[in-house]
């Protein structure tokens, strides 16, 4: 058996196409998809600072708005993301809006004119909203004084006037970032691709009839396939280590309290995929059919349902949630995420047991099928 293990590993070293693919591609995918889809997971505001060019020729209500803004207890820049710079002429202000995409506010006597760059409508809206809200407040207070000065004074003079919405900032450290998600999901996706190595090897052994020659040496079929599975398991154990370490050290992916144990779980999933690859190679005679089956059905469906590209919540319920469970990737991903974020190891243990049992089942089916073929031959 040792000779078969050694042969498979040596073959991978000599022809490392798939090995390198599995070694490097997870890192590439984690970084690429993690960064592209970071917006969907971001725990920080993605609003950018708005620069305002202000031409102050204010009188009346406009001047009052500026006074209110400058004397406000909150920082317009820090809390609202609006930075005000003054400009000297109307032309300068318009140029700032046109060229530098600033929002130009012209406080013209008691009127306020806003010029926004058409490529940044949201920035313009934010500035308009701020100035309008301040102006409205001032006017409202004025009207209130007109109607009932005593009451208005009482109202504004109390703490009620400083009424603020209570805001509590929740720490973001436990939030799932895009790298936390795709660090896990892309690694498990690439584990699925491990099945391509045994597929290629077993088809080559079959095509060149090397397997027949091996059988003539007296090695049993059981030992041949068991040794092959051990070799692919060793490859699975080694090949994903760089991506796993990279995810922790460079992407700060959360693998829970015991990352090495989580890696062992991934290796178990890899062994299952190797066994699945061996089974497919055994069941299908044509390499062409296998390639179509993998590229059109198995890998796209498993990866989509598994959440490799589109994250599906791990606590989903209903029919679609059951459909998602068709993919073993989904089992693996749910197992990992529930263990890390919900402190629930149930799915992890259950899926680990399922992968182990299914691996043995695949091996059994392969050996029985091979034996039947031998007797039929």
């Amino acid at each position: 058996m040792f000779q078969i293990i050694k042969k498979i590993i040596r073959n991978q070293i000599r022809n490392p196409k798939w090995f390198l693919f599995l070694l490097i591609f997870p890192i590439f995918l984690m970084v690429l998809i993690g960064s592209i889809l970071s917006g969907a997971f971001s725990d920080k505001s993605n609003l950018t600072m708005v620069d305002v060019a202000l031409l102050n020729q204010s009188e009346g209500i406009s001047a009052e708005v500026l006074d209110a803004l400058s004397s406000a207890s909150v920082s317009i820049e820090e809390d609202y993301g609006i930075r005000i710079n003054y400009t000297d002429t109307l032309e300068d202000g318009k140029r700032e809006a046109r060229v530098n995409k600033k929002v130009f506010v012209h406080m013209n006597k008691d009127k306020m004119q806003v010029y926004g760059n058409e490529s940044e409508p949201l920035n313009t809206a934010r500035v308009v909203a701020l100035f309008r809200s301040v102006a409205c407040s001032i006017q409202t207070v004025k009207e209130a004084y007109k109607i009932d000065g005593e009451n208005a004074l009482q109202l504004i003079g109390t703490d009620n006037a400083n009424y603020e919405v209570a805001v509590e900032m929740i720490p973001s450290e436990n939030a799932l970032s895009s790298y936390d998600y795709y660090g896990v999901a892309e690694l498990t996706l690439m584990v699925l691709y491990l099945m391509l190595i045994p597929l290629g090897d077993l088809f080559t052994d079959k095509r060149t009839k090397v397997k027949d020659r091996i059988m003539l040496t007296g090695l049993s079929r059981g030992k041949y396939y068991a040794a092959s599975l051990i070799a692919y398991s060793l490859i699975g154990l080694v090949v994903f280590i760089p991506a796993f370490i990279f995810s922790i050290t460079y992407l700060d992916v959360n693998w829970g309290a015991y990352p090495p144990l989580m890696y062992l779980y991934i290796v178990l999933f890899a062994i299952f995929n190797a066994a699945l690859g061996m089974l497919i190679a055994k069941l299908l005679k044509s390499r062409g059919k296998v390639d179509v089956l993998l590229s059109v059905l198995i890998i796209p469906i498993f990866s989509f349902l598994g959440g490799s590209y589109t994250p599906f919540p791990y606590d989903m319920e209903g029919t679609f949630a059951k459909v998602l469970l068709v993919s073993p990737l989904r089992w693996a991903n749910i197992g990992i995420f529930r263990s890390i974020y919900a402190d629930d190891n149930g799915v992890l243990f259950f899926s680990a047991a399922a992968f182990a049992l299914l691996t043995l089942l695949c091996l059994l089916v392969i050996i029985v099928k091979d034996k039947r073929e031998e007797l039929k031959a």
């Binding site: 000779q3 040596r10 073959n11 000599r14 022809n15 009839k209 090397v210 027949d212 003539l216 031959a377």
Partner: protein, 307 residues
């Protein structure tokens, strides 16, 4: 001692009968040739002997025991190049040696001998994928020799290789036989069988249609004669027209060589020369030669070996 005993062997693949009641006995120390056209059932017979296929009926014994029990005494050179092209010559031979249970000095000497024997010692550290077709065929043989088997079965080992490698393989087979190894050699190249084999079985449609030494086989058709002549412009001659001459049973026309097989009792030399002269073809050399196994096969089956 009987090395291989095949008794009434039948192998069916669905409706097709590949081997049809084949019986053979091969003695120790023989180089036994299985000669037959493609699809005659040679490889199927070999695979049945090796245990790679299961017989529909019949029996195969190796060294007087059921074939499965004596597999380790057998070295098999398959028709395919059953090797790892990313491995060196040494690694390929070592892989199979280890699978046969060889270890340590026994393994190393087995590898050395096998590579030496096949003339690959100088390229032992080169990967198989850098080898020519002939070198790969030789390495294919080396991998079957590493465990010093008493019986070597070679399934068309010279298909598609250059004459130099072919000669090397043929000489290797002779040297193996001199060492006392029994060789079973299948081919559809009649010349190889004539050169190598002590005994020959001609197989067609899954049956042995004749077996014996070359002399015994050619004696089966001692009523035939074979006229060979070398000419300058053989293209002027017509197989059909030569075939119409009385007594002619087969005509082969090459670039400059012409071979006419005839019945011995018919004196048609004059008629043949008259036809050649009529076609204004210049004859350089002429003479009768021994009847070949090709003629034997043609006579027995009505078909050519390479049809």
């Amino acid at each position: 001692m009987k090395v291989i005993e095949i008794d009434n062997l039948v192998k069916k693949f669905g409706d097709h009968t590949a081997v049809n009641g084949l019986s053979l006995t091969i003695e120790q120390g023989e180089v036994f040739g299985l000669l037959g056209p493609n699809g005659a059932g040679k490889s199927t017979t070999i695979n049945l002997v090796c245990g790679l296929l299961h017989a529909t009926s019949g029996d195969v014994k190796l060294f007087g025991k059921p074939a499965d029990a004596e597999k380790s005494k057998l070295g098999f050179v398959p028709q395919n190049i059953a090797l790892y092209d990313n491995f060196t010559a040494y690694e390929n031979v070592k892989f199979f040696g280890e699978l046969y249970g060889l270890r340590g000095k026994e393994l190393e000497s087995g590898i050395d001998e096998a590579l030496e024997f096949t003339g690959l010692s100088d390229v032992r550290r080169k990967k198989a994928k850098t080898f020519s077709g002939g070198m790969l065929r030789r390495l294919n043989i080396a991998a079957a020799l590493v465990h010093n088997p008493q019986l070597i079965i070679m399934d068309e080992p010279t298909v598609g290789i250059d004459p130099q490698s072919r000669n090397h393989i043929l000489k290797s087979v002779q040297r193996l036989n001199e060492k006392g190894v029994t060789v079973v050699y299948t081919t559809h190249y009649m010349e190889e069988v004539e050169t190598l084999c002590n005994r020959i079985a001609i197989i067609d449609q899954g049956k042995v249609i004749a077996s014996g030494t070359k002399k015994e086989l050619t004696a089966l058709i001692d009523d035939k004669k074979s006229l060979h002549f070398t000419v300058d412009n053989a293209f002027e001659l017509s197989k059909e027209e030569l075939g119409q001459i009385e007594g002619v049973i087969n005509v082969e026309i090459g670039d400059n060589e012409v071979q006419v097989e005839s019945l011995k009792e018919v004196d048609n030399l004059h008629a043949i020369m008259e036809y050649v002269s009529h076609k204004q073809v210049k004859v350089r050399d002429i003479g009768f030669r021994d009847v070949t196994l090709e003629t034997v096969f043609l006579t027995l089956t009505g078909r050519k070996l390479r049809d």
